[in-house]
């Protein structure tokens, strides 16, 4: 029943999308400057059908309707309601439906919310967006249908991978999808802008909010994913340069570059073609990431079942998308001949863009190189953190420096200012204090620490200055402050992290340089869909004589049979104490991984601060539009 209803709604979405394409085509030839109300109506119907189809799938999950293959394979009637709901998008087919919903949502929002724009630009954007929607609907119906039926109906489902049963991970995919699928709307708008030849400023204004929204969700999505990895994977790390993590980071780099270059474009100073290239590139990177993750050509901690036929479809789509974009770009690209002074704001913004594109290149090569090498020569290599750290870290120094000095230059031209100032003196002082406290000998790390301190001090100083003048560019200040703090805390965390691995039996005590860890008790519990073995550990700090109780768990899930190791983390603002245990088969010895990780919460807070800047900018724009 739900299956038929779901398919009906999908066909409804397909029909309305085709109608919109037909109407927009017809409208391209019309001379008047009004978009007919029919298009608005169809767009509303499309939104209704698409959201309804998603709700039908959601309902099937909530009711545990195992007549749907998708629900049978990914859910179980014993599962807590929250995870039944998140199970909807925790698999390939369901997440594809979410993809389509976001494409449709952004299509309607763009149509209804974009005001005072050129008609043909708006119509063409809608046309391209609906071509994307149609392609994904065909993919869904022919290859990855979440509403496929199963007969006879099984009594029980197979269950959701327990590692995905986590609140952070339940909201991680929707956030990321809004981020990178949302970028589709400025991909469509960029192609539309080329063909309709609208002026650069109107284009910048019409896409800026969308870029901000997708950038914000992408940032928060990546953050939530990192927090999940930190708590759930039990390795004590939060970023692994895993190919799938890289797939979310690549669009983020382009979005960040885009966000900055729009600032230039908004002021009619140039960069039109470049902004268009970035708009196209963001969504291209998103689809590339999706291809890498779903086709199974990469090995990763992420758990999409691999299927070459899916890969082939996404690859064909990517080919079509890239070549049409290249064709449209070269046929219609606008002419520009603007020159700027080296010491102007836009020069610094262009520098930011080069850094972002460089970072993108490094991550893209690191991710793709093993695949290409394997295919061409057959040799298998693995590109890991050392590659990224080695290549990316040195470039943080000039980036931090440009972020510090760039924003204080004026548009178009500027006089060279003296380098010596109060902020620099303060930064050097702060750095020397830090250096004295951490006693780190590595020159590169010290330079990075110094320049992050310089950026933090400068942004705080800017905040004070602009507050006096009541002309506050608060969003930039908050985001740059967030970035400076992020880099600072990542390195401090790196320097002061402690890790010990050892084996313990119940009742034994292990002494490390600063800590004493006692294995006090072991308990077994049966919980709804898993059995839990809980270890009680007493960790005392020899330095300040405090002690904490930590309770790591080993969980044995029955559907599907999986063992997970739950870290126990005692967390405060300045330091996390992290303990995981795993059993060694046929013995009563447990392997213990004990870690002390300073400033983890401040790392998360820094990313929140970074994304908060985007939100503030978004609302500032809305306020300006109203005035």
């Amino acid at each position: 029943m739900l299956s038929k209803l779901g398919i009906l709604f999908i066909i409804g979405t397909l029909f309305t999308s085709l109608s919109i394409i037909f109407l927009t085509f017809k409208e391209l030839k019309a001379i008047d400057n009004l978009i007919p109300s029919k298009i608005y109506k169809f767009s509303l119907f499309q939104l209704f059908f698409s959201i309804s189809s998603f709700f039908v799938l959601l309902l099937a999950y909530i009711l545990s309707d195992f007549s749907l293959v998708n629900v049978y394979e990914n859910s179980h009637s014993n599962k807590p309601l929250f995870y039944k709901i998140s199970g909807t998008w925790g698999n390939h087919e369901g997440s594809l439906l979410l993809w389509i919903n976001i494409l449709v949502l952004f299509s309607s929002l763009f149509l209804f919310l974009t005001k005072n724009s050129d008609k043909s630009f708006k119509i063409l954007t809608l046309l391209f967006q609906n071509l994307l929607i149609i392609t994904f609907l065909i993919f869904l119906l022919t290859n990855s249908n979440p509403f496929s039926e199963l007969f006879p109906v099984p009594l029980e489902g197979l269950g959701l991978n327990p590692i995905l049963q986590d609140p952070a991970l339940a909201i991680h995919p929707p956030l990321l999808y809004i981020g990178f699928v949302g970028s589709s709307i400025y991909f469509s708008a960029a192609l539309a802008a080329l063909i309709s030849k609208i002026d650069s400023q109107s284009f910048a204004i019409s896409i800026k909010s969308w870029v901000l929204v997708s950038w914000f969700f992408q940032t928060v999505g990546i953050l939530v994913g990192s927090i999940w990895a930190y708590y759930e994977l039990g390795w004590g790390g939060y970023w692994f340069w895993d190919p799938v993590e890289n797939s979310s980071l690549m669009p983020w780099f382009v979005m960040t570059a885009l966000l900055h270059s729009i600032l230039v474009l908004e002021r009619r100073i140039g960069l039109y073609s470049w902004v268009i290239v970035l708009s196209i590139l963001t969504f291209t990177m998103s689809v590339t990431g999706t291809f890498l993750v779903r086709s199974g050509i990469l090995n990763s901690v992420h758990t999409f079942a691999s299927d070459p036929s899916r890969g082939l479809f996404i690859l064909s789509f990517l080919v079509l998308m890239v070549f049409s974009s290249i064709f449209i770009f070269f046929k219609f690209s606008p002419k520009e001949n603007k020159k700027y002074s080296i010491f102007s704001k836009e020069a610094f913004i262009i520098a930011n863009n080069w850094f972002m594109i460089f970072f993108l290149g490094v991550v893209l090569i690191g991710t793709l190189y093993p695949v290409l090498l394997d295919t061409i020569t057959g040799s298998k290599i693995s590109v890991g953190p050392p590659y990224y750290n080695l290549i990316l870290a040195p470039f943080l120094i000039p980036l931090l420096f440009l972020m510090t000095s760039g924003p204080n230059y004026k548009w178009i031209s500027n006089d060279v200012r003296s380098l010596f100032n109060l902020v620099l003196v303060l930064s050097v002082t702060f750095f020397l204090i830090t250096f004295f406290l951490i006693k780190e000998n590595n020159l590169l790390i010290n330079l990075i620490l110094f320049f992050s301190i310089y950026l933090i001090t400068q942004t705080l100083f800017d905040f004070y200055e602009s507050f006096k003048k009541k002309n506050i560019n608060i969003s930039r200040i908050i985001s740059h402050l967030g970035f400076g703090l992020l880099i600072f805390f990542i390195y401090i965390n790196h320097i002061f992290s402690v890790e010990n691995n050892f084996n313990l039996k119940l009742g034994e005590t292990k002494k490390t340089d600063y800590y004493t860890i006692k294995f006090v008790n072991l308990e077994e519990q049966s919980i709804k869909n898993y059995k839990s073995i809980i270890g009680y550990f007493n960790v005392s700090n020899k330095k300040n004589f405090t002690s904490k109780e930590l309770r790591p768990e080993i969980r044995v899930y029955d559907k599907p049979f999986t063992i997970t190791y739950e870290a126990s983390i005692n967390s405060n603002l300045f330091s996390d104490t992290y303990l995981t245990m795993s059993n060694i088969s046929d013995t009563d010895v447990f392997n213990i991984k004990f870690q002390v990780k300073p400033f983890m919460n401040l790392i998360w807070l820094s990313v929140l601060l970074l994304s908060l800047g985007g939100v503030l900018n978004f609302f500032k724009r809305k306020k300006n539009e109203k005035n």
């Binding site: 199974g296 050509i297 090995n299 890239v322 290249i326 394997d374 295919t375 060694i584 013995t587």
Partner: protein
């Protein structure tokens, strides 16, 4: 100029897509078994007890050698250890243990508790050297002959059948 850019970009993308298309049909899981029959690479390995190193070239002096990658923190290593002790009694077979990403104290305790079957004990503190042998996870065991050719590769703990198989190969 515009036309040249157009062509270059299109060609580059085409090449990329062709390779990605080919990669769809490839075997994805890393299978180190295909190293069997190849020679091991010449690698300097740090010795566990001293600061000296030892080169895998020296293994040509042995008729057969087993390279075993282990760590005290690894449960399956504990399980396979009695089998290594069994292998250590074979005369024309030398055992090289490579302690993988481990702490010295723990490793010493492990050998004290379970016995030390190794003729030479090396260490690979950060796991980099082991990659030269195609080892990413432990335990793994490689059997080589005097020409340094890999005869067998065991991924995961050795069981008694593996021990018997090694006995047979070495006796021939």
């Amino acid at each position: 100029m515009k036309k040249i850019n157009y062509i270059i970009i299109s060609v580059l993308f085409s090449l990329l897509f062709i390779v990605l298309y080919l990669s769809l049909g490839n075997e994805k899981i890393y299978n180190t078994q295909d190293l069997v029959g190849k020679k091991i690479s010449e690698v300097e390995i740090n010795l566990f007890q001293s600061n000296e190193t030892f080169n895998t070239k020296e293994l040509t002096n042995n008729e057969f050698t087993i390279l075993n990658f282990w760590a005290s923190w690894c449960g399956p290593c504990r399980k396979e250890h009695p089998n290594l002790v069994r292998l250590s009694k074979i005369k024309n077979l030398k055992l090289i243990g490579i302690n993988f990403k481990d702490e010295k104290d723990n490793a010493r305790n492990f050998l004290r508790e379970n016995g030390n079957p190794f003729d030479i004990l090396g260490e690979d503190k950060n796991g980099k050297n082991s990659v030269n042998f195609g080892v990413y996870g432990i335990p793994e065991t490689i059997l080589i002959d005097s020409e340094l050719k890999i005869l067998k590769k065991y991924i995961g703990p050795l069981n008694i059948n593996d021990v018997n198989e090694i006995r047979k190969i070495v006796k021939k």
